[in-house]
Structure formats: C-alpha cells, structure tokens
Symmetry: D2
Subunit: 236 residues, 4 copies
C-alpha cells in the first residue's frame, strides 16, 4: 500500500469503527469473524515491478516504458485503492443512494481493468517475438491460418490508433472460442474471457516514441512478445 492510499484508508477508518479493522487487516488473511474487512472490501492492490529490464525492449524506449509503468499503471493502482476506500465509506454510510454507490462501482471497474490489463500487458512483453510452433498451431486451428490471426489483431490495433483501448487475443470460456477482441477502454471486455495476449493501444503506449504512427508501435509490440508467458495463459 502506498503512503497516499494508506492515508486515505486511515481517513476512512477514522470515520467509522467498522472500517478500522478493515484498514489494518492484510488482504491475504480475511477474518470472517469481523464485519466488512475481507477481500471484497478490504483488499488493497500492490503494484508489481516490470518483469524485464527496461533497457531491453526493441523499439520501445526505456523512457516510455518507465513512464508507462510509473504514471499509468502505478497511477491506476493508487486510484483503485482510493476508490476501494471510498467504496468502504459509502457502503458504511446509510445515506448513500444506490446511484451514488454505483458511480463508485463504475470507477472500481475501470481501475480494476486498468490494473489487470496493464499487468497482463507488461508480462507478455520482454520476449523475442518468436511464437513457438504449438502455439502457432493453436492459433491457426481457430483462425484458419496464423496470418489471419495476426492480420486481424493488427487491424484492430490500427483502428484504435489516435484513440484509446486494448486489443486482446482471448479465450472465451463460455463459448470455448479463441478470438480477438476490441476493447473500447479499461472497463470493456467480453464476458467470461481469459486474456491470452494483451496489447495496450492507449496513446501513452507509443506517442512518446512514435507520435501518431501507431502501426510502427504495433510492429515493435510484436517484436517484443514474450510468447512463453502467452502460451501458459492458454487452457490446455
């Protein structure tokens, strides 16, 4: 927990005895004896470091990836923790109308998406971009050919150029489909989907290095894919 969010939680706790326990309880050992201090309410997110040397990416500068991690991802983690603390306040306050409460839930959804998608994105970078044969086969089994897949994945990215969103190769656990998804923002997702390969198309992912040339960033993204990580995300 960062000092900022710890302060926020302590402020919340000071307003209500019920929250004091929540703020203190570690997220990993929820105490079901108490009220409202377990994971769903008390959880606070801790940012994880980048899983690769920031100097090691080809075509994505150290400055950009460091700024991306620090300003956008760690920023989202702080925002998520603050929103979660505000939600605890709002849940404990009987004067909170449902439509005010859902306003915070909306923000929780956005920040959760940003944290989760950023972690998946960073974790599927740092590789050499060479997809192993068995993964290529899994992909071509679903898309007809591997090129069909790559072509659609890149096209979705280009369609997001100049805007914001994500491209996800995902496995829909309900429909049992491996397909590409277009995400309008952090909170958009196809229901019940396991992300397999995640590409950030927010402009902070490339403007600093490439300006408006989103296609060049997509090239760089492909050159750095950590396919071993990607392979492990696919169900057997």
């Amino acid at each position: 927990m960062t000092p900022l969010t710890r302060r926020t939680v302590i402020q919340a706790a000071a307003m209500s005895p019920v929250l004091a326990t929540a703020a203190a309880a570690p997220a990993t050992s929820p105490d079901s004896q108490s009220t409202m201090n377990a994971g769903a309410f008390g959880f606070q997110h801790t940012p994880v470091p980048l899983p690769f040397d920031t100097k090691s990416l080809r075509g994505i500068s150290e400055k950009l990836i460091q700024s991306h991690w620090e300003n956008n991802y760690v920023g989202a983690s702080k925002a998520l923790n603050t929103i979660r603390a505000r939600l605890m306040q709002a849940a404990a306050d009987s004067n909170t109308p449902p439509y005010v409460y859902t306003g915070f839930k909306r923000e929780q959804s956005i920040r959760t998406g940003s944290v989760v998608l950023h972690e998946l994105y960073f974790a599927n970078l740092g590789g050499n971009g060479n997809a192993p044969a068995d993964l290529r086969k899994r992909i071509s089994d679903s898309f007809g050919t591997y090129d069909n897949w790559e072509s659609e994945f890149r096209k979705i990215g280009q369609g997001l150029g100049g805007g914001s969103g994500w491209v996800v190769l995902g496995f829909n656990e309900h429909l049992k489909l491996l397909e590409n998804y277009w995400l309008a923002d952090h909170a958009t997702n196809p229901a019940f989907t396991r992300p397999v390969l995640v590409m950030d198309m927010y402009e902070h992912a490339y403007q600093m290095d490439y300006g408006a040339a989103a296609a060049k960033y997509i090239d760089a993204f492909f050159a750095n894919i950590q396919w071993d990580t990607v392979a492990k995300r696919l169900p057997a």
Copy 2:
C-alpha cells in the same frame, strides 16, 4: 443457425469463394487446412433452451420469461451471427478501413456479452433461492458477512433500476478476488473475471411484471436463484 442468419452467411459466402467453406463448416470441427473457416471467424451460435419450466418461477411470469428468452436472448444470438458474417465479409475485403472493421468488432463484443450473460442468467434461475452453507461461507469469507454481500449486490441492482446493465458476483482470476461488479451494458466487464451469479437489470427483465419497481424484481430474482449451478461456477 436460423434461416435469417443462414441466408446472411450464404450471401457473404457468395461474395467470396473463401467464405463458402466458412459458412458450411460446423463450428465444432474447424478445419485448420482451409483459410478463415475455423472458430474465430466461422463460428455461429445456436440458442440453448431455458433450463427450467417457464411456469415454475415465483414472481416472474411465464409471459415475461418467455419474451425475455425469445426476444432478447434469441434476438441477441441472431444479431451475433449476422455481425459475425459481416465481419467475415469485411475481413475478406481489402477496402475495409480498420476503423470500419473495429465498428463491427465493437458490435461483436456487445452481442457476445449479451449471449453469454443471458445464458449464465437463465442458468442461475429455476432454484429455490436457498444458498447452501459452504457457499455462504465462501461468500462471507470474502465480504465479511453474507449479509454484506447480499446488501451490496442488491444495492448495485437498485442503482441500475430505470436504466440497463447487469450485476455480477464474479471471481477475478487475476486478482483472486470474489467481488460484486456493476456492468453498464453487455460489453462492460472487469477483465479476466469468471461470472458466478448473474442478475439482468435491463428493464425487459422486470418491467412487464413490476413496472418501475425494480426492488420487487430483485426480491423475485433472489427467490429463484439456482444455487447449485452457482456453486459449480466457483473455483475450488
């Protein structure tokens, strides 16, 4: 495949030899030898019947649940299939700009969400509303108490009254959190989440029986939850 969507697919197929195979190939046996006829492109959805007697729900009329299934869910399935056929056309047409293509991907995401969430919703109805003890414990382990959970779940539903959206008790596979989510529409979802209990808050889920009284519908929903199905969705 309904006659309507079959016609659409055949129209698409007629425009391009490459699509002819796609239209004919059954979704369950993708042929990786061919081009673009496997799951990601060729899949067409078949609606599943309601898993309970439409007369059996308490407080949700036969007329409403039948209309909900037929007009909203089967309608979404038809729309998904049509959009998927249009996507195949667009993918095969080199004149399709990326931002036109992503317009179809957006619709695909919305219709996919509607189909998946509706199937999960109907499948968690038809029960007696009594949550088994071990599931109550799982929930209270995360929410502090079972009442905390139910209170937040209902509050999110009330906040959606008069609008549209979904309430989902979900397990976030990345953060390992069991929490409640507010969904603005079919395409909103927290990333990498397994839906456990799904409540439809679109007005077609209750207006016919309850008018604007969303809270009464939420009571009826709780009385009909099929908890055995819900329990199986939770990871062990």
Copy 3:
C-alpha cells in the same frame, strides 16, 4: 427542491461553511459576490409537470406515462440534485483526487442528459401526429424526402429495441446539418446539437404497454407527436 435533496444539500452545507450559502441561494438569483454558490455549483433542478393530459395519448397508457414521468424523470431530477450537492462537497474538499471528482462529473453528465432529454421528449408528445407542410419541407430538404427521414428515424429506434437509448432528429449547429442521431444513453450526444424531435427508447418508455414490441411503440410515438413544439425548436 424535494425534501430528499434538500436534506442532502443541508448535510453538505453542514460540512463546510462555504456551502451553507450555496444551499440557501435560489438558483435564479446567483450572487456573484459569494464563493461557489452560483449556477454552475448551486443550481438545483425542479421537475416540470407533464404538458398534456395523461389520459390523452393514443396507444400510450396513462399508467405508463405517469410511471415514466414520476419514476424515471423525477427520479433523474432527484439524482441530479444529489450528485450536484456531492460535487459541491467534493469541490470544497482539497483531499478529493481529480479522478474521484471526474467520477461525479460523469454522473452529472448522465443525470443532466436524462433530465433534459426527458423534458424535450414529454414536450414533443401530446399532439395529433400530423407534421405541418413547412416542417415536412424542411425535413425533405435535408433527407431527400420526408419518407427517407421517417424511415431512418424508425430504423434507429428499432435498432435500440431491447436495449436503451434515444433517437434524436437534431440540428448540428456547427455543421449546419439537420440529421438523425442514435444516442447510446443519456450522456451520448453529437457535439453542439440542438435536439428537434426526441424519442425515448429506454424500455420503460414502452415495455409496460407493448412488452418487447418496440415497433408498436414507435407507431404510437409517431401518432402523438406535438409537431408545433417541434417546429419551434428548428432554427429559422
């Protein structure tokens, strides 16, 4: 101001002397001598009555239109006032992070849209559905024929059936175009557009009378259009 929102505002006022004036000041006489008590912050909305006899609409029942006005429109007015009071609190609290503040601004935008669009919708009902010749000419000047216009307007409505949103014939003041718009929700709008004819496609506008048969509601809407009001909204 309703008792509910007055209470909320008074609670806000109690937290900060600066807000006490705001709560008391009537929206119609902003006092530029004071701090933060003028229109942008202090305004509170008062619902306007329906401009027609609730028994007079053809094909839209008294029960439905009364519920629509009371539950959805007056409800949105109350929600807007509550959100505005919370915004005053948040603006006066230096601990409010910008991303928490914008969460409230988002809600303000949604509720403002709901209030404004509902008032425009009700005000363009209660007529006999016969468009005067000069207005028909204005429409056909832009759409080629009047039928082109009506056909597209109805088609957009049908596309929203089973979901939620609005259809608006609007005059874009920047592009000088009279065209039809599809609105995904209360907060969606083409920039700088004057709404001319507004049709509510949220399911509360028709489910109680027509169930899922949105096309029948669209017929009823057309039969009740108050074209004199519509004509006055068009720029000369």
Copy 4:
C-alpha cells in the same frame, strides 16, 4: 473531399443508381427534388486549416500541433466521410438489419464529435491567454468566482490525464446554465449544450511534448486560449 473518400463514395454510388446523384451533389446545394442526396445523407466534410501559425503557440510544439491536425483531425474527417458513405449504402440496402445500421450511426456520432470538437478546440487556440473582463464576469457570475471556474476546469482535465476525453465549458441551452463538462470520448456530451471553451485531453494533444505530464499541457493550453473566439460563442 479527399481522393480516398471520393473513391469510397463512388464505390457506394456504383452499387445503387439512387446513390449516384448523392455522390455527385455538392453538399452546399442539396436538391430536394431527388431522393436521398441532401445534407443528412449526402454531406461530405472538408477539413479546415489551422486558424493560427503552427509556430506561434507557446509550450505546444509545431510538430505536435501539426500531427494533431493532420493525423487526428483530418483523419477523423476522412473517417466521417467514409462512414457516411457506408451509411448511404446501408440505407439503400433493404437487407440491412436495424442493429447493423445503428452500428454505423454510432460510428457517425463518434466521428462527428471528433470533427466538431477538434474544430472548436483549434479555433480557441492561438491567443494570448488573457480573458477579457466582461467574459471573466460572465464566468464568475455562474461559478461564484473566476478561480472556482478555472480550478474545476483544470481538475477535470487532470482527472482525464493518462486516458482520453475532453473538457468543455458549455452553455446548456435547455437549463440555461454555464458549467464545465467532462466528456468521456468524442460521442459523450450533455444534451443541448453549446460548447464555449474546448480542451482536448486525448494523449495525442500532449504526449509528444510533455509525456505523461498532463498538468503542464493544461498550463500551456491556458496560455494559448484565444478568448475573443470564446467570447463570441457565449449567448448574449
């Protein structure tokens, strides 16, 4: 009309005699004798040049503003024209289901918003940043003080940092309110609002010059406001 979009329109026209006229008719002289060739369908947008010397802005580089105009604004204009041509095709094709048609209307709304907001944004840049006294009074009349206004306007911008959207000081013509609005994207807008001052918070507006330091860009924006243009947008 750019070559690209002219080609698209001609392709559309080739599919249907009814569209041939539309493609040829200049937007400024709609022919009400014909079918579907007037403004609402036949209009094609022509980009306007930047209203200031690209070297003249303080703290916003020539490279950035040139890229912003060319890639994001002219790109949006092309996309709008292509979408409008596709809409003409879809309107003329009786096989187009309403939900496919509304997919195009959604894109039309997004591209229209991008074009309009960008033109308003560029037009309110190129000045010296000094608000004239009478405008300051109009603002303080609504916000209590001018500082209240500026503080909220900046805060909304900061809340959008790292994401995308717009900040608008707008006059709501229905509620008669001068207030600040938060726009999630090009298609979000409070209904019936006249934009008065428009600030682009998409990352392409600042990343190239400031990286993630959105607050520095907001400073630069304020230093370049063309207040004379802003003043003329306010109703008397």
